[in-house]
């Protein structure tokens, strides 16, 4: 099937923002809700042009705020439309109220996030704090590390979120600038492949005058537990669907991703970086250099953050002696006084009999690039800890220590 229709696929040079817009176009979205904030804006600019050119038939709404963007998305998805929206940084948080109602209503809204540091101080660079702050709101969530992966993740997220066994909204995240504004080769599929992979969205109980339903009525406290349990089960129940859809994607498009983790040079690794997003690209490069100098270092890149792949993380990280979590997010006053990835990695490992040493690196804050020199420094810190058999501290601020 894939080869029969693969004729019209093409490779283009685009950045992450445009890859996301292309994915929305291939998904034939019905309603788009836009509001400007760098760096994700370029996605909405590209979609506006596609609509203006007649390449995509969608209602393109210039919303009055991110809160409105997400409410528009909620309303449109409730009627059975396929919806696309997005944001960055403070915009993600301006819409915060809507995340729980949308997942609670089981509306598979899709939101593209190109990460941006929160204020202060009005920095444009990528930090994952904004998206991670919404992590417990019932949205499927994961990070891409380049434009191609972003494109693919958008399509897979629609397919997973709209699956009647799941029905959950999705945040498809990419690092601002490192992915959103870096141009790379990206293969755009034949529309026939997308048609085969992504059936039209059909919500089981839309707002339709021919079949009246009420969405979101008030409850009494005793009606809360079953509703919350159902949402929790939807999250857990998404896990096998996510695996199934990744298989289907590989079959139809020829690109296979592990749904949960990318392991890079981990076969004989003793110390590994644990991270998500674009810094994985630099990490691969740095790892090759350090391996040439004899360091047994590798990388485990988290691809799906919600639902959190607890078993997979435990099975993977327990193979190593030391795990250095590269945070790129702020967990002020958190358990490690570092970022928030650490806590869940450690919790995932708790039941494992032979646990690695785990600590955080606060690196790339404010969207600063993490340079090779810093990867070397972090590798040394991990090797020192391995030798010592003990961590020095739970969180190292890279660039501020010897």
């Amino acid at each position: 099937m894939a080869t029969a229709t693969a004729g019209k696929k093409k490779t283009v040079r685009i950045n992450g923002c445009v890859a996301s817009a292309q994915a929305a176009k291939y998904a034939d979205v019905d309603v788009i809700a836009a509001y400007p904030i760098r760096p994700y804006t370029a996605t909405m600019m590209a979609l506006a042009q596609m609509v203006a050119n007649g390449e995509l038939d969608a209602e393109y709404i210039v919303a009055d705020s991110e809160h409105s963007q997400l409410s528009i998305a909620h309303g449109a998805a409730s009627c059975g439309a396929r919806v696309f929206t997005g944001s960055s940084g403070v915009g993600v948080q301006f819409a915060f109220e809507l995340y729980s109602p949308i997942s609670g209503a089981r509306m598979p809204v899709q939101m593209m996030i190109a990460d941006r540091t929160l204020d202060p101080p009005g920095d444009f660079g990528s930090e994952h704090t904004e998206a991670l702050s919404t992590r417990d709101m019932g949205w499927l969530m994961g990070w891409s590390c380049d434009a191609q992966e972003a494109f693919d993740n958008h399509l897979m997220a629609y397919r997973i979120g709209e699956d009647p066994r799941v029905l959950l909204p999705q945040m498809v995240c990419q690092d601002g600038f490192f992915v959103s504004h870096i141009t790379t080769d990206c293969e755009l599929p034949d529309p026939g492949q997308v048609k085969e992979f992504l059936p039209p969205y059909k919500h089981p109980y839309p707002l339709d005058p021919r079949h009246p339903v009420s969405h979101g009525p008030q409850i009494m406290p005793e009606q809360g537990p079953p509703l919350q349990l159902e949402r929790a089960r939807a999250m857990e129940g998404a896990m096998p669907v996510i695996e199934e859809i990744h298989d289907q994607f590989a079959r139809i498009f020829g690109r296979r991703y592990d749904p949960w983790l990318e392991e890079y040079m981990t076969d004989d690794a003793e110390v590994v970086f644990f991270l998500q997003g674009a810094h994985g690209v630099t990490a691969r490069h740095a790892i090759r250099h350090m391996r040439a100098r004899g360091a047994k270092v590798g990388m485990v890149r988290l691809r799906t953050y919600r639902p959190y792949p607890t078993e997979q993380v435990a099975a993977s990280l327990s193979k190593f002696k030391v795990v250095g979590v590269i945070e790129t997010n702020m967990g002020l006053g958190s358990v490690s006084s570092g970022g928030s990835l650490y806590a869940e990695a450690v919790a995932a490992l708790y039941e494992v009999p032979k646990r690695p040493l785990v600590f955080s690196f606060m690196a790339g804050m404010g969207g600063e690039a993490i340079v090779m020199k810093e990867f070397y420094w972090m590798t040394n810190k991990m090797i020192e800890a391995q030798k010592r058999g003990k961590i020095e501290k739970r969180a190292h601020w890279v660039g501020f220590e010897e």
Partner: protein
């Protein structure tokens, strides 16, 4: 695939817009998209309005309910009184959620994903939602001209949270956030935000009207005009709340007339074609504001000077509508000719019941 043309409804006007007496109109549709049995208070003005509005709209309708009494008291225990599709949305999302519904139907019909006549899309937002926290979202929906009707059911306060001042609460109105006291004898010191006029002035391409539950046929015809108008429409409807206004529950409709007769709630339409206000609506009589105020506990603390201030305000409203002000109402704007609403103790007792 070629785009499919969107078909829209045209609802006929109801005859005998008998503004005065209580009446029965046989033309009213039998359908009840808003059924009895919900948990709103006896005499609840917003619910009376809800029934009229949804009856006027009919069954090919989708309702949007931002947080407020018309969500909380209507849709309790997963049991709702809506016979047409209804969705709750956040209190600040009145305009935006509604815009999403309208946009979805535009796209789905055009792209052949839903077959049928474009439904009436009505948002029932409280005044807290429409004039404060959701103001920008309502303005956004009107500005972008989605084919929908946004109603502000105006009970002049945040009722559902236990009666707090909103920017629609009148001068002199007692709420739990604007209580009277020795330092602030009049309670609410600010005059209400002129929400409907803001919406008309700022979005002149929209149909905008005010209405009151005191005039059901006028209200329902305006709902139909608003729905027939292709594009966005906004209505602000006076809907008394006995819990917050503190009055005898059978008097909701009376208050709906008195508020208009006293000039405190001007009834008008904004015609988006002519770009003009239509002030031709005339109540059966004109009365001093004290006749309206004295029925409500929330004004029980007012002194003569405060009543005079409210009468001045009412006279300004009449003037704005080009109505000649009778001598008696000019006199009523002078505190010398007025008495205090009640003794201080009586007002305090009422405050306890809010």
């Amino acid at each position: 695939m070629p785009a499919i043309e969107v078909q829209r409804q045209m609802l006929p006007m109801l005859g005998s817009p008998n503004q005065g007496a209580r009446f029965y109109n046989p033309e009213l549709p039998a359908t009840e998209p808003f059924v009895p049995g919900h948990r709103t208070c006896a005499g609840c003005g917003p619910s009376i309005q809800y029934r009229m509005t949804s009856k006027a709209a009919g069954d090919n309708t989708i309702l949007v309910g931002p947080t407020g009494c018309m969500y909380v008291a209507n849709s309790s225990y997963l049991c709702t009184p809506y016979n047409v599709p209804w969705a709750h949305t956040q209190i600040g999302s009145s305009g935006s959620f509604t815009a999403g519904v309208a946009a979805a139907y535009e796209a789905m019909i055009r792209k052949g994903k839903w077959k049928g006549t474009f439904p009436n899309i009505i948002c029932e937002a409280g005044d807290g939602s429409a004039s404060d926290i959701g103001l920008a979202s309502v303005s956004g929906a009107l500005y972008r001209n989605h084919d929908c009707l946004i109603i502000c059911y105006d009970n002049e306060q945040y009722a559902n949270t236990g009666i707090q001042a909103s920017s629609r609460t009148p001068y002199g109105g007692m709420t739990t956030f604007s209580p009277p006291g020795p330092k602030v004898p009049e309670a609410k010191t600010l005059f209400p935000k002129d929400l409907a006029r803001m919406m008309a002035a700022g979005h002149p391409h929209c149909y905008v009207a005010t209405a009151s539950v005191g005039y059901p046929i006028d209200l329902m015809n305006k709902v139909r005009k608003a729905l027939n108008h292709k594009g966005a429409a906004f209505m602000m409807i006076y809907t008394p709340c006995q819990k917050g206004f503190v009055y005898e529950t059978p008097r909701s409709i009376d208050l709906g007339r008195l508020v208009v007769e006293s000039g405190l709630y001007p009834i008008w339409e904004w015609d988006p074609e002519k770009r003009e206000f239509d002030y031709s609506f005339r109540p059966a009589s004109m009365r001093p504001v004290s006749e309206y105020l004295k029925l409500q506990g929330r004004f029980g603390h007012l002194h003569a000077e405060h009543i005079a201030t409210l009468q001045k305000f009412a006279n300004q409203q009449w003037k704005m509508m080009n109505v000649a002000i009778p001598e008696a109402l000019i006199k009523a704007a002078d505190a010398k000719n007025l008495v205090d609403m009640a003794s201080a103790e009586a007002a305090a007792a009422v405050a306890q019941t809010v």
